[in-house]
Symmetry: C2
Subunit: 336 residues, 2 copies
Amino acid sequence: MKDKNITIIDIAKQLGVSKSTVSRALKDHPDISKATKDRVNALAKKLKYKPNATAISFRQQRSRIIGLIVPQISPFFFPSIIKAVEKEVHKRGYNLMILQSGESEKRERDNLEILLHNNVDGILASVSRKTQNFDHFESLIEEHIPIVFFDRIPKNIKADCVLIDDFDGAYRAVEHLIKTGRKKISICIGNPNLLISQNRLEAYKKALNDYALPFDDNLVISGESTLEAYKATDDLINSSHKTDSIFAISDLTMSGVMQAIYKNNIQVPDKIAVIGFCESIFSKMYQPTLSYINPLGKKIGKKAAQLLLDRIDNEESQNSIKQILLSGELVINGST
Amino acid sequence: MKDKNITIIDIAKQLGVSKSTVSRALKDHPDISKATKDRVNALAKKLKYKPNATAISFRQQRSRIIGLIVPQISPFFFPSIIKAVEKEVHKRGYNLMILQSGESEKRERDNLEILLHNNVDGILASVSRKTQNFDHFESLIEEHIPIVFFDRIPKNIKADCVLIDDFDGAYRAVEHLIKTGRKKISICIGNPNLLISQNRLEAYKKALNDYALPFDDNLVISGESTLEAYKATDDLINSSHKTDSIFAISDLTMSGVMQAIYKNNIQVPDKIAVIGFCESIFSKMYQPTLSYINPLGKKIGKKAAQLLLDRIDNEESQNSIKQILLSGELVINGST
DNA sequence: ACTGGTTGCACAACCGGTTGCGCTTCTATG
DNA sequence: CATAGAAGCGCAACCGGTTGTGCAACCAGT
């Protein structure tokens, strides 16, 4: 039970003016004399008046809240996205309501409901891995609720999207391995159904092909979780396929790969080189520090937020749908 | 620009009843006949009526939003806290607005302002490392805004708190090292000004004392960041002090410690045993997997949310201030 | 003195629900 | 048959700002 807040009515009464005058005085409206404005501002300050955001949201029919749906807050590059989104959004006078789907389609739908109930002015979303049916997002678009997808986007969606250029990044990672003399390059993908796995695998194939290296199905392993990636890598290492390098397409798979490497006491990069597609912070958690393609969470967050806010703020010229591809950065460290 | 939403007035008009009747029908008020309720509910469903949460917040003078302030979303156990808080809060019909202070006192104050502007019904907070002056929190308490602190709490604050039992956990970690035969036990703390560092260091001293081991200042190292912890550990390893085990009091220091260990090619646990005070997921990122005290983010989040919601929902019996200590769990893995 | 324009403010509607109160109409009871 | 009470619904105020409109007071120009 909070104490009652000061309202413009309190100020109006004490000053013997109407509440509309107070309202306009506070917003420096030209209709109000300087003398009145000064009196109002002085009293407002004295009483520690805080405008009631709920009342304003209600009146304006806009909450100045942006909804953000992510699969998970934590692993691994979402935090940097969130940070960037938060910064951009605050800069333009909005706030953020962050919800996690936990990779569940049901919770994703529930979260969308929550955001709508809270009258968010727009939504930023990265879809859950398990979501198969995207009609909850499609109906938002039909209702013209501004929405921008990032990183994990629904198939064939008619909305703004901001993406890592998976293909480009993966290609450069593999190319880097090739250029440092590797011949039996493995790739550890995540869930094969994810677009991200597919794209990065395609790039891997293309790079091999471009450099005239054979594609060997045995060198493609997959693990949806760290543990699965660990097992798959362990199997690969102890198989007859003699890989000389591994490209791990995500933080989670990377973690699994490195565990297997430690377990088997493999020299990196002498015996096997490793390159990831991960956040810089994780590359530093291993020895030697890992080479990686940085997925640039910060850039994604900033760009996605900008697209959304532009769409909200400028009501016109919104017919064009923008799909933005951001290129990851290749950082070379001790593992290659 | 979103499409206009259906309101109870739309329903009322179509049905030829007043909006108060619609409102009551929707909430199953006894004054309304079953026939009318059925008609209202049917039409509401047909039109996909969604109550306007902003209007309700405004009228009820409560937002059903809980504000959550954390230093950072990511490293390392905040995600599990957030997840638990989110779950608890949703269960009781509230939503979460998450803000990060980024370990900055200014942003912590700004975030508090944002939450107040958004009329949150209560606040969960873990304070920034750099915050020295807590009057922004104290004035909240004076205004009787429900608030619960967790993990990092202001000194001498008169509010509910939920804490890890640092002392207990650290004691058990050191005790475990002692019982496995270590004699020259080091501790790597974070910022020495933090309560967490101080408490865990005290426990370390007490455990040594209880088991009749001498305290040696040279075995206490500190690193506020991973890099600093790395350097401090590296120095220690290459010094004459011959430590046989290290207790790292946080995820960040742990990461630094392990990097130094890898760099110096030290056998774990043969030459140096390592134990952390970290999330389970991080213990698995090293080889051998690390023994650790689990700070139980999930429990903290749940408990903190429950305390806050209880305080919000039951208006009475709120005079007592609760300070809750949760014990971490000792998990023994390959590193000790 | 009359007109036209400007200045500075008040009034009231409005946003979408909630809720106390009061008004019918119908039923039951003495 | 009169009347008390209940059932079912409408009216209007209210939450705290914002904003279109109206209008009095004043000034300058003719």
